[in-house]
Symmetry: C2
Subunit: 228 residues, 2 copies
């Protein structure tokens, strides 16, 4: 008798954190269904990265879902209404909620993941938030995830579990974990401006570069500015 793998719905943006989460979930033995959202983000380039990452990690095409959302998100630098801040001092990042915050984004993404999971018989949701080297978003905090899990259990007939394997890891630690798990970092996209080569100046680029620098390995993606 073969044990049937449990299914996990993995939120996959195409950035480095969600890529590491997918590799983590696969190593945990889950059958992974990836869920990516086209929500009018400035950095839509990440959607192609999500597909490439999932393919490289062996997720079948039928289990890689891209959901086009209508314009429900607004009021953010990532949806075009505000400017993406550049060249902020590293120590300023995460201190306050920046204009790249997208109102209720992870709340919506997790809710949609629950809607996809339940008919699949999946009891596991995986999200790549981290609350250490992060941009300061409220929906990346562990207390939000715990509250969401409770709401999702009460609002569905499934005992859903929300897994955030990176929530207490710094970026360097995430880089090291990803390398150990064979994550194709060269295919990931983090830049908030959605340009390639990456800008190297937005918070996402700077946190990413900090992670690789502290891990002592080069970031394999090209940047438009010299990076150390």
């Amino acid at each position: 008798m073969t044990a049937v793998a449990e299914t996990a719905v993995v939120l996959l943006s195409g950035g480095m954190d969600s890529a590491v989460c997918l590799a983590w979930a696969l190593r945990e033995g889950f059958r992974c269904v990836t869920l990516s959202f086209d929500y009018g983000q400035r950095h839509r380039l990440e959607l192609a990265s999500a597909q490439q990452v999932a393919e490289a990690l062996g997720v079948p095409a039928a289990d890689r879902r891209v959901v086009p959302l209508p314009r429900v998100f607004s009021g953010s630098a990532l949806t075009g209404e505000l400017e993406v801040p550049l060249d902020r001092p590293e120590e300023a990042i995460g201190r306050e909620i920046p204009p790249t915050y997208v109102p209720a984004r992870n709340l919506v993404f997790l809710a949609l993941a629950a809607a996809v999971a339940e008919p699949l018989g999946a009891r596991h949701l995986v999200i790549g938030v981290n609350a250490l080297d992060y941009s300061g978003y409220p929906d990346c905090r562990p207390e939000f995830l715990a509250a969401f899990e409770r709401a999702a259990r009460l609002g569905t007939r499934t005992e859903l579990s929300v897994h955030a394997p990176l929530v207490h890891r710094g970026k360097a630690d995430i880089v090291r974990l990803g390398l150990a798990l064979g994550v194709p970092f060269d295919r990931t996209t983090s830049c908030y401006l959605g340009v390639r080569p990456a800008c190297g100046r937005c918070d996402a680029c700077r946190l990413r570069l900090k992670g690789f620098r502290e891990a002592g390995v080069p970031d394999p993606i090209p940047y438009a500015v010299p990076v150390d």
Copy 2:
């Protein structure tokens, strides 16, 4: 100096409960932005009702939003994968979760309402669930709403409040409140089959008819079968 009305995002399906909620919120003095979802429901007819109800109650066209969702919901009689149960005994309704349950629907709708609310500066979400004369859905229970409110507050930068003014009311009570508030019940659509005249046999029709019967007033919409 004129006091500026607070804004509420009101989930408006086009059924009788959400119509009463909208009238309630308007009477409370909120500026109301209505949110209706086209999610592939069998009873899409309700979307036209939602527009007519909101218009009749004086909500400007610019504040009546209809959001088309891709196929994220499945596994339900309301999305076409299962049969809608008909002619169930009244006492059986609400005893267990019926096939018309749509996985994670109110979780997704409330999350999207939060995403719409925050950039508007709206701190109030209104939802027409009730947990007395209801179909037995987990996402209609007050404990779910409380858990969602907590998650929404933690996951956004807004102290959102979820209002469910009907949650402890029976259907007859909802009918009476609606009549007092001038709700145009003749424009509402409840039937799960999405037919007009209404089928009179699905749980939604039966609960609605029970409400009008117990309130001692005739239901103004036509039915395909004789109703008392």
